[in-house]
Symmetry: C2
Subunit: 416 residues, 2 copies
């Protein structure tokens, strides 16, 4: 019998005592129910109960963060970091069963007016049981043919409406413009207007034509998202067409399907996180990026979206950087993965991104920041490479721009 | 070309104008990006853009519900119901791609300080493209051998710690006690302590022995949740063992995997919703039950958890009843499904549940409400049948209890 334990770290809020709230969490997710039962012996409880390892109080609140919780008798809603541990023997290593245990019904407890899963420390059995990333940073760089700088990419836009041939023509132009990486939008998957097979065939021909001219095949993250059987067929089709990356809307397909893609795919998996906001945007509900990314990495993702600095979305820069650092750490015995920066990225954010992370091991994906460059996409792509060259060399972007026209034009349009 | 459209209904909150927020939503999820692009012609926009169909203002708020949104200039956060429509031609019928379109990045928009997907009106193509429930209410009743009253069930407790043989002994006792339906806990799936194959074999033998005595095989929802390949193997194993139901933690495995279970399974799918709270507990974030259940029904769920009246969780009764009514409506061309009531259910809630819904087409699952009955589980099960008999006959439970000792004992312990 293994004595290994799964450790889960939460932030909670309760109108009652922190101790009783933590005990309710441990009981709900292991041996408890709402009344004592005949089968629940002390021996069984000692061996299988979840344990409250630590309670670290935080500042109180005066109003509850979530409704439906038991009201506080003294109008104080106590917050704390809570660490629980669970016997691995209770759970096994399957990711869906891990989730049912460390998250599951906890979000429902009326003792809690706030509950968020912040971190998971998993025993080595999880790393051994799951494939993890097949390519990670090194494999993605090898297939993209890019070393010593970020992989610079763009998104096929408009998100919807282009026919396969129009998409292919645009992709070819972007590859000739010097992009390392081109991805489908998450809204472009397999629709009547842009059927997967037609788009794949048209774009790959166009990219290979461009490669004949440029000497390098741009990495194309083909959106294979679909019902499972179709998605696996798409994965095979991308490899057969000579592609080098598949993209999946991971929240939409789920953990089981992503792991099936990992087992089928001979190519890196670009994990698009659309839908993620619903799970994380409230600070006292849902999941941290650290937990979310850990699960998808175990299941096999190689490249994970982290948003970007000064993005067009709600997320503050500090949160974006925490996510990127999570991707850059090896975890559960598996190597680091590529953080994918996107959302209103342009030459403007390169210096701050490098200053914060101190690495070029990332994918830097711009939409308008490349395609709307005043001198066209090729100048846009050049402006990003220049901005990163300046950042790595420690030269202020404004100074570098004095001798690099593409960067100068980008900064005058995009700097905020 | 199909002109069918997908209609999505949201509740939103914004510090800006409702019109510009709704336009931002439509743009983000169809043809837009943050600057105008060369490929985005007026013709393309007219054909593929999402449309703002309706904005119905609600009361304003003075503080934003979610952080990270653009601040209001006049300290008013406007709320509204917003209806968008999307061309089916943009999306296709795959559920993951539907989700990426109607939800996806919307939760991230900084124009919004609240965003929740409340309802989806799908064109008939979705009903035709997806299997829907294989059994629904009628098929579940047929396999459970129960007509004209709720299917009365219980959960194997304690949630963890019982060996397969102990689980089997308890399940046999419960079947002999007259339960129609017995389910594994969501924490009991396939662990070192309770391996799936051993538990299935032991419990099925025990239930078949009990059936030899009682004349009816209790329906046993075997928790098949696991990584996909193992889960599909479990599904086959349940059918081979003579089982009549499989249970899946649907949020944990995801839509792709659940649909794969549906295509593989010859048995009803009991959809456990653990993890659901994270997606719905904040009223201005995430998803309504109506949307959530619609997706899982299309993918193939037959029985869906709805919580219960006066439950031990955070959810108000009105919300529980809305969920149950959603299950009881045929939808997308597929029949109604079984709402599963659970969480602190006992004889106490039968009358109110029947009064609110006017139907016995439901599963009524009690843990302590049966197993902790002062006269044992058989009396507990009897008390539930008596409570429902009284409810259907229009006799107050307290009056019926005067001549029914099991109900009387249950009410004196459980009534709240």
């Amino acid at each position: 019998m293994s004595t290994a334990r799964i450790h889960a770290h939460y932030v909670i809020e309760t109108g009652g005592s922190l101790e009783s709230a933590a005990a309710a969490m441990a009981g709900e997710q292991s041996t408890g129910t709402f009344v004592a039962l005949p089968g629940e012996t002390p021996e069984l409880h000692a061996r299988h109960a979840a344990t409250v390892e630590r309670i670290t109080p935080l500042d109180d609140a005066v109003v509850p963060s979530l409704s439906g919780a038991v009201a506080s008798a003294d109008s104080r809603y106590r917050r704390a970091e809570v660490e629980l541990s669970f016997p691995l023997e209770n759970v096994g290593t399957a990711l869906p069963n891990l989730l049912a245990t460390v998250a599951g019904n906890l979000f429902e407890l009326q003792q809690l007016s706030g509950i968020r899963l912040e971190a998971l420390d998993l025993p080595p059995a999880f790393g051994a049981a799951h494939p993890g990333p097949q390519f990670g940073i090194e494999g993605t760089r090898r297939l993209a043919g890019v070393q010593d700088r970020p992989i610079i990419g763009t998104i096929i836009k408009p998100s919807v409406g282009l026919t396969p041939d129009e998409t292919a023509a645009l992709a070819g132009d972007l590859a000739r413009a010097g992009l390392d990486f081109i991805k489908d939008d998450e809204l472009m998957a397999n629709s009547p207007h842009s059927p997967f097979d037609e788009r794949l065939s048209a774009v790959m021909h166009s990219l290979q034509d461009a490669a004949d001219d440029t000497g390098a095949l741009a990495m194309y993250a083909v959106n294979v998202t679909d019902e499972l059987d179709e998605m696996l067929r798409h994965v095979d089709a991308v490899a057969e067409a000579g592609g080098t990356c598949v993209m999946v809307s991971v929240n939409a397909v789920g953990l089981g399907a992503l792991r099936a893609v990992r087992e089928r795919s001979s190519l890196p998996i670009h994990a698009h996180r659309n839908g993620w906001g619903a799970m994380t945007r409230h600070p006292l509900l849902g999941y941290s990026y650290a937990v979310w990314s850990q699960l998808w990495r175990l299941a096999g993702a190689d490249q994970l979206h982290v948003n970007g600095l000064r993005n067009k979305f709600w997320e503050p820069d500090a949160s974006v950087l925490r996510s990127a650092r999570a991707c850059l750490r090896p975890e559960n015995g598996h190597p680091a993965v590529m953080p994918v920066f996107s959302s209103a990225q342009s030459a403007d954010q390169a210096a701050d991104t490098y200053a914060a992370l101190g690495t070029v091991d990332l994918m830097y994906v711009c939409g308008g920041g490349i395609m709307a460059h005043p001198d066209g996409p090729a100048a846009g792509a050049t402006s990003i490479r220049q901005a990163w060259r300046a950042a790595v060399d420690g030269v202020p972007a404004s100074e570098y721009a004095q001798t690099h026209a593409e960067l100068a034009a980008a900064l005058s349009l995009f700097a905020r």
